[in-house]
Symmetry: C2
Subunit: 166 residues, 2 copies
DNA sequence: TATTGTTATACTCTATAACTATA
DNA sequence: TATAGTTATAGAGTATAACAATA
């Protein structure tokens, strides 16, 4: 290890390295499952899942972009792919003609349903397979706090998102 | 192990979503810092860091590929980029003429040193900024257990070549 | 034959900037 | 002018397969 004015304790280093390795391995496994079972990229799955969770299965492009950390053009690209496969539809919003509303189709929900069990199985075994209920409680508490911290601090690191101009 | 119809408890769901979001936001921030300060991709940073941690600052391509989850060609590509910038050298191994030994140069160590403080600062503030020492202890304990579990279970998804045949 | 690494190639993904159209 | 979204394009990254060289 390099000697430098680091502010990370050995325990913090351990937590950080473990975090990054768990993250990489889990992500790899999940992406492979999504690709193999549903021919979905991770982003496409996120989009479908968000739409599936929406009350009416539809959301505006901008709202989707806010949820997934993405550039507008990247979102357009992925939405096009999903539309070509018939998993979503895109149509102009009646309220605001500038907006595009994306909606999951039945085919999209079918793919979601095909992919979901294996996805849950993976997370269940890989992420939680060796943890007690108490561990999971702790993990949820700590990570949710960290997530809130992350949400609050840097809104600038990601792509240019300008919902509101200060 | 888990029964066939695996399910995630609300707490598990919370932990999973928080984990993925923290992972994505942290990774985004780290990649930006590495790119801005050192013009390094995340993989390039990993390679440099591994070499910097090695006793003599050198490792074989295969050993590097084993550490970082990568295909051989992908590693060759990244090593080429690093070599073009003069951050590493590649030379045939004296012991085994088939092997290529990658070594960090002084320039490489300089870039590492330039990048490291900001990297540590990011992790310190984003990942641990809102956590107590006790939280960090818990996080390290739980994630290290999960990491060990992950290392044991999967047959290495992206393994084109095995070092050893079982 | 098996292993190490490179090359050739094709594909996916992402972002920036220019553009259209609506508000 | 500002916003929503698309398009054009360019670049980075990755993987697979064929390949050469060495063991």
């Amino acid at each position: 290890m390099t000697a430098s004015p680091a502010r990370l304790s050995p325990t913090q280093l351990g937590a950080y390295f473990a975090f990054t390795e768990v993250s990489a391995l889990l992500r790899h496994a999940v992406e492979k499952q999504l690709r193999d079972v549903g021919r979905l990229s991770y982003v496409q799955f996120q989009l479908l899942a968000r739409l599936g969770d929406s009350p009416d299965g539809r959301q505006r492009m901008t709202d989707l972009a806010d949820g997934v950390v993405y550039s507008r053009s990247g979102l357009t690209y992925q939405a096009q792919l999903l539309e070509e496969r018939g998993l979503v539809t895109r149509s102009p919003s009646p309220e605001d003609e500038r907006s595009t509303v994306v909606a999951v189709t039945d085919a999209g929900r079918t793919v979601l349903a095909e992919v979901f069990p294996g996805h849950v199985e993976l997370v269940s075994s890989l992420l939680f397979g060796d943890l007690s209920d108490g561990d999971v409680d702790e993990l949820a508490r700590i990570l949710e706090r960290t997530r809130d911290n992350l949400r609050a601090i840097p809104p600038r690191s990601a792509a240019p998102r300008r919902r509101r101009t200060p």
